[in-house]
Symmetry: C2
Subunit: 195 residues, 2 copies
């Protein structure tokens, strides 16, 4: 998606340790106009898949997932968005699917949780997230879908770090992954190069 | 907002300890159609205020804030959404506004953080959140705005627990609060009664 790649080049900041900061438009502040376009682009790639549920993970995935759902709604097909929770709260009822995720950004493991009633075995699930790097978060979501016995249609990702293993490993499992921008390489000196 | 009140009555569950579960449409699964209507209603109440920034808090506030921003975008006025972070991550740069919040749901204090570059003193800020009960989260956001010296236009809330002190205390400070549904009382036996 050209407009996204241009925005990453313009406003993204590369930090040591393969960190890409896109807080000014994606995961701290949200550019609503760009968000709308990204949701539309992502939704179009899965438009003929009869998606019945969009599954994402708090917090940064929520806005993107809603933008995708908004496009489906605009086309007369409301699809609910479910966001997996990172911390078990007192507000969750007992009956949950739980999966483990290793965060390299925060350097620790955590659990993601979805109440069972929000993932049914007759669902066609589209996963949505802002980033795909080592793939741990997405794998956690894939696992939640597997536990629910729902059908996994694929995953829509905003930015994929193509030089890390997550995308490759998940595609090898036969999962369709659509990334709006795939980074070939990045460095503090030379910035971001896309595939 | 009648459609919201009806939905709370139909799908909300009251648990002991004044907990209202609305996970099926607001803070675990999102009903995109209702979300759209809520965003529109909230945006309309602040339509003539020249909002330049919407500030919310991860995670449940994000979808509502985006729905409000989506309505403004639809009217030709894109307004960025900023969500305060609950955990300081390695992805945040050093220069931040920080405020303390006491969570009664989770029984602990935590800090919320916004990078300084996303709140300027010439901003007109609209706060958005899903719940207002004791007011601690909203007060944290008010505090972030005060630290930035931006102008606080008001707050849009989906569900206010009118029998708790948050709304009263914040209105006493002169803050305009628009809640789409205000609960007068609730109990496991009798469910939810609105003002």
């Amino acid at each position: 998606m050209e407009i996204l790649k241009e925005r990453i080049k313009k406003d993204g900041t590369v930090l040591p340790g393969n960190i890409l900061k896109v807080g000014s438009f994606l995961n701290h502040q949200l550019d609503i106009e760009l968000l709308d376009l990204m949701g539309k682009e992502m939704a179009k790639r899965f438009e003929h898949e009869n998606i019945t549920r969009i599954l994402t993970i708090e917090a940064s995935g929520i806005a993107v997932a809603c933008a995708v759902a908004h496009y489906f709604l605009h086309k007369g097909k409301p699809v609910p968005v479910v966001f997996a929770k990172k911390n078990k709260t007192t507000n969750l009822s007992g009956d949950c699917f739980v999966s483990k995720v290793t965060s390299y950004t925060h350097g620790k493991d955590y659990e993601i949780t979805v109440e069972k009633r929000f993932l049914n075995q007759d669902d066609n699930v589209l996963l949505v997230d802002d980033f795909l790097a080592n793939g741990s978060a997405l794998e956690g979501l894939v696992n939640l879908v597997a536990l629910s016995k729902a059908h996994l249609t694929g995953a829509g990702i905003v930015i994929e770090k193509g030089f890390q293993e997550g995308g490759k490993a998940l595609r090898k499992q036969g999962i369709r992954i659509e990334s709006l921008a795939i980074i070939k390489s990045m460095s503090v000196e030379n910035g971001v190069v896309f595939i």
